[in-house]
Structures are given as C-alpha cells and as structure tokens.
Point group: C2
Chain length 411, copies 2
C-alpha cells in the first residue's frame, strides 16, 4: 500500500515534496554541509535520525556513497524514511531534525564523475537541423539508429542558484575573414533531464541492466553558446560552447518516486538494433517549463513541454554508452538532450523559440528576447502530476552575469 500522508502537514498539500517524493539533496543551514531529504517545506537532516542504513553512507556531504551501496540499500532507505515521516510514533524523534528549507542553502547533491550529454529529442534535433542544414537534411543519417551523445565537462556542473558568467570565445560571422575573440552574443539554455548513474559497470550492459543502474533524475540546463559552437564544432563536436556551466536542480528525485509515471518511448521510426530495444517503458510523464526573468522584473514562462517527448530513454542512452566497453561509474551524469515538443511553445531552447534569432520571444512585462541578456535569470521547473499530488524537482535556476573583463594578455 502506498503511503500518501505525512505527519508533517506541509507535506500533504500544494508541494513539490510530498511523502511520495522524498528526494535527496545536500544542504547547509550554517552548521555545515550534509545530506538531506526534502519533505514539504522542510529538509530532514537524515544522518541524525534512525535511518537504518550504515552511517558511513552519510560520512560526506554527497549521495555518492548511498548510490554505490546499491539498489537493496536504496529500497531500504526509502522504506525507512517513508515510515519515519508518516508514522506518528516517530514524530517526536524525527521532528527536531527537520530544517526549514527557507533557511538552508542547497549544494551539489553528488560528486559528478563524468558528464555525458545526449541529443535524443527528435523535435529538437529536427528544429536545429532544419535551421542549420534545411528541412530535407534536418536529421543526421545516424539519428534514428544511435542515441547520439558527446562527453561534456563534469567540472562545469553547478547546482541551481549558481550565477553563470557569459563566456568569451572564438566567434566568426559568415562574412568575416578571421574569427574574433568576443563574449558570446547567442548565449542560450537547453531544457533537459539529467539521469544519475548509481551503479558502476565494466563492459556492455543491456537496456534492462542500464535501467537498474540509474539512481534518479534531476532537471538540467545545458547552457550553450551558439555562436561559439557554430565556429568550433566541426569536425569533433561542441567543446567550449558547452563548458561554461551546466546547472542541475538540487534534489535527486529517485527512480522509485517516479515509478508510477513511466511511459514508453515512441514506436521507432526505423528498427532499432536489438541492443537498444527496451522491454519496459523508459520515459516518464514529467511536465516541464522554462521561465525567463529579466533583472529585477517578473518572469515569463517561455516554454512548456514534457519528458515523454524524448525518442530515446536514459536507459537506452546508458546501454549505448557501454557498447565500446566504456566503464561507467557511480556519479556519472547523463543529460537527456533538449526536450522540445511538437509546437512552438514546446521548444526547449531560445535557439528554437526564436528560430535562430529571427522570431523574438515576447516577455510578459514588455521587451523581447532572441537570446539571453545579462541579468536574465533562467529557471527550469518540472513535476510529475498524480491524483491530488505531484512529484516535483524544485527549481533549476541561474542568473547570467556580464562577461569578465578581457585580460590584457588576450587583447
């Protein structure tokens, strides 16, 4: 029987964090960084309660040790936390270890081992391909056979709330003879989900085994400098255009919490090779949105979409990742690729929303945007909606600051 109510009333109403969610984060309320579990408007200081797992798993402010402990521990911990936060008998022991979310700063919930970003949304790939190569060549020939991915930069992954500096880089207009070194003028977001690998592998794994390795999900914004990317990406792919920052939401929503919301990937338009064929639905019905707030002004929701729009699931991506024998590690992060839907309002990047800058996006308070301007705050939000409750991710937010002053040696 699913437990649906907590003794903490704030967890039973309008919240991202009901007792059916119980996502994992790392917080600091001024008394040091430590592991926490979101419940309503509070954070459970998990190491302080009778959590029932080895205390060494909370020895550092990161969830990597819990992930490494494996699925049996994942289940046991979730069951115990559910019991502690629903059974009135535990209230007296647990309540002193609830911290007000409003008084805490959220930190990176885990150490990112390596970061891989995929390109597995068909609407996004079609939109971008149409802009760059025309509608007849929109999808690359391999797209319907391979969950295309590239390795990103783990050191650049930051938690929601971290400001992001507009990057410098080499840019070259179509009519320029030589590139210039300039701040990106086409700085953008990509609305993605991040899947977190909780178990390691050596050698090839199946989609089913990959599914079992995934610990949970976060929202992920893959900040992208389109003008830098356009000049650098041939022939070896994006590099500095994607290395400024990748922002994730602070709460790892577990696979267990999302289980009721599973939906299948679409029927393949071209037969998939057997190693990519999925036997269980690999996506989730998660409503997603992007909001843009100019500095000091109200936000406008500029896009709404859903994770079910993806063509490949995280488990398929992870299985593909291992085909070469590539070892995977606890703490690897897989970006889904930009999640756009069929209509204009469903587009998960400004590149698509403004169609390469040609059709500006109107903001509610006046003004418009082709790409991000300095001072803008971009926020992703997401939740799976059940009957009378939601499994939310919290915000994945970052304000874009002006570029640093150019050092003398770069002039």
């Amino acid at each position: 029987m699913t437990t649906t109510r907590s003794w903490l009333e704030a967890a039973n109403g309008d919240t991202d964090f009901p007792i059916r969610n119980l996502p994992y984060g790392v917080f600091d309320d001024g008394r040091g960084a430590r592991c926490g579990v979101a419940i309503g408007d509070r954070i459970l200081d998990v190491a302080r309660v009778d959590h029932g797992v080895d205390p060494v798993l909370f020895g550092e402010p990161a969830w990597n040790a819990v992930m490494a402990a494996g699925p049996a521990v994942w289940s046991a911990l979730r069951a115990r936390l559910t019991e502690l936060l629903s059974d009135e008998a535990h209230r007296a022991a647990v309540e002193p270890h609830l911290v007000a979310m409003a008084s805490a700063r959220m930190l990176m919930p885990f150490r990112v081992s390596e970061y891989t970003d995929f390109y597995a949304g068909k609407h996004h790939a079609t939109n971008v391909g149409t802009m760059f190569r025309g509608p007849e060549n929109a999808l690359p020939p391999n797209w319907l056979s391979i969950p295309i991915g590239y390795n990103g930069r783990a050191s650049s992954v930051v938690v929601s709330g971290t400001p992001v500096r507009r990057p410098w880089g080499q840019v070259k207009g179509p009519d320029d003879a030589l590139p210039r070194f300039a701040p990106s003028a086409r700085f953008d977001i990509e609305l993605e989900m991040g899947a977190i690998v909780g178990q390691p592998s050596e050698g090839m794994v199946s989609v089913a085994e990959a599914e079992g390795m995934i610990f949970g999900y976060v929202l992920l914004n893959d900040w992208s400098a389109r003008d830098i990317q356009a000049w650098e990406y041939q022939p070896l792919g994006p590099f500095q255009a994607k290395a400024t920052a990748t922002t994730i939401s602070p709460w790892i929503v577990t696979k267990a919490a999302l289980e009721p919301f599973r939906v299948p990937t679409p029927e393949p338009e071209r037969p998939l090779l057997p190693y990519l064929q999925a036997r269980v639905p690999g996506l989730y019905d998660i409503d997603l949105e992007v909001a843009l707030a100019p500095d000091g002004a109200a936000e406008t929701v500029i896009a709404r979409t859903n994770y079910r729009e993806m063509y490949y699931s995280a488990a398929q991506q992870l299985a593909h990742h291992t085909t070469s024998g590539c070892p995977m590690r606890v703490g690897d992060l897989l970006g889904s690729g930009t999640i756009s839907g069929p209509d204009r309002e469903n587009r998960g990047s400004l590149l698509e929303l403004s169609w390469g800058g040609k059709e500006p996006v109107e903001l509610a308070g006046g003004g418009q945007r082709r790409f991000i301007e300095d001072g803008d705050t971009l926020t992703l939000r997401g939740a799976a909606h059940g009957d009378g409750f939601r499994i939310g991710f919290g915000a994945c937010s970052g304000q874009v600051l002006p570029p640093v002053a150019l050092p003398d040696w770069a002039k």
Copy 2:
C-alpha cells in the same frame, strides 16, 4: 650545475631513467601499491626515504596530492630526490628502498579527473581530412585558428600493459541501408603525448599561466575504432569510437626533466588570436615510435616521428580549454592529438600509414596490416635525446584481445 651521475651505476648508462629524468609512477611489488620514482633499473619507494616534503602527499598510491601541492613542492621534491640519488653520503639510507623494476607491476600513476583529446597535429589533420573530404577541404576552416579538442572518457584511461578488448559498435558501410552491430574491423591506434594538469584553475588563463599548471607528460595511445567513428561522429563528434581505452605510459616525466628539450611551435600560417600567442617555446624535441608485434612474433617499428611536429602546444590547448570559463582540475589529462610528421614513415596511426586501408603496412616477419588484428601488441616509445643521455618515457603498450562474445540480448 646539472647533476649528471647517480651512485646507482645502472642510471648512468643506456637507460630511459638517468638521474636527469626522475619520473613519477605507482608500482606494486607484491607489498601494496605506492608512489615510486624511476632511476636506472630500479624504483625508489619514495615514501620510505627522507624526501623532505609533507608525508601526507604520499598517503595514497597516486601523484595527485603532490601535483595539488604546487610548483614550489614540485621543485623541492625534485631537488631532494636528485640529491638523495647522486650524493654517495645518502646511499646507505636510500639503497634499501630501491625495488627492482623487473619485479614490480606498474599501475596508473594518477587519478584522471577528466580527459580531453585534441587534434593539434597538422600532418595528421591534413592526412585524415584528405582521405575523408579530399585534398582541397583537408583542413577544417577553423583548424588554423582553434586547437580543436573534444572531451574524452576519463574512466577508460588505463596504464601500459592493460589488455584492450576489440570493441563492438554500430557500423554501416556506404552501401548498407541500415547499420549492423559488429566488432570494429578498423581498430587503430593514435600516437599522442598526454599533458597532465597539476594545478586547478577557475576562469580564463593565459598560455603562460597554463604552462605553469602543467606537471608533466606521458605517452598516450588513443585507441580508435575508425568504422564506429565514421558512422557516429556527425554532428557531435567521436563518442564510443574512442571510449574503449586510452593507454598511457606508467611514468610521468616532469616538465622540469624536459626543460632542456623545449622547441617552439611552428610559425602560425594564419595569425593566432592574442590569447593563443605563446611567449616561450611550448613543444619538446621528443623522438617517438610505434611498434606492432603480432601475437607471439617479433615487433616491427611501423612509425617514427617527433613531438615537435605539433602545431599547437599543450599550454595553448589548456589556455583555449579555459576560454569559456571551464574550470580545470588537478589530474586533468590532455591528449595532444595524433603526432604525424611530413613523410609516410612519420604517420602516427594505421589509418594514415595504410591510407585508409588501401596501402597495407609490411611487417618484418612477413604479413601485413591495414588495421590491428586480434593478438597484436602495439607499443609506443619515446625519449628526448641529450648529449650522452636520454629522458625516456618507458613503454606505452597494449595487446588487443578478441571481442567479447555477443550477449543474447544484443542478438
């Protein structure tokens, strides 16, 4: 005054490891993994001697802590080791802590934080470009402006001696309607140097600052599945084609040991942007070779080249890597890109040596190779040659094993 002789006679003759080298590795002689320094035919068990630096730096079997301690510690340690191994007065205290190299197994010398591979050899880029796009489009338009790089997979970096399994992957011939899942039939090497980042950065760094961040160099073989790469690499670059393994030589040759062998990068053929302009010579005169030995047979040296053939230096690559604000970490590994020279015998990959498989390479014992066959051992060697001595890297070697049997779920 440079110290040129050790009290250990084996260090004064025909060796990769004279006292002017003193490279850093991690070894296990059956009594546990620990940090060691190569000298002649021995390994100094460095934590056991009066090395003069904080003992905590040798608390784990990896050189990351020494790297993180910074350039002043790098200099002090090198000076002290030179003294210990040259001054006869220290012989009695030090000699008991020399282990025979022949009795030790070498392990990874450092924990790889992240791995970036570049494409900075002009001969290589021209050869590959000519084969794939024709001589008139050989170099991509950005090549003479950007040290092109992509993020590789740190988890796949292994030390010399580790066998390498031929990978499976998606391949598609030009006349095939659909891709097949098959073992790579065009498995290859890339002869490279690896630069090891020994100091972290946040934000943009100059070429001079980047130079100061580099701790040392290894030989690096970027194993590459050409057929997998050809089908997967558009539009986001190589992924599984490069993720099977990257082998490095076991000894980190320090920047200090290579100092006498500095040579400049070539005069740029197109003006470089100021941030890439180097004020000190950034390459080294290091002779390099590739040998191929069929299973149980004698080896043939199939290529000879030199690190000075590169167009961009590691410091230029590292400076470029930071332009976006990308944070760099202690233990980051930068592959130079394949080091080919102007002539056929200078080509650093079988792809180039056999010109895409069209001109097989003849082996000394009979037989020929287009690409690697199962059982072949590929070995890179390198040394900077001084007057009567050399600064060697040791071997960077790996035997290619047959692919694993295809699991049922992939059939």
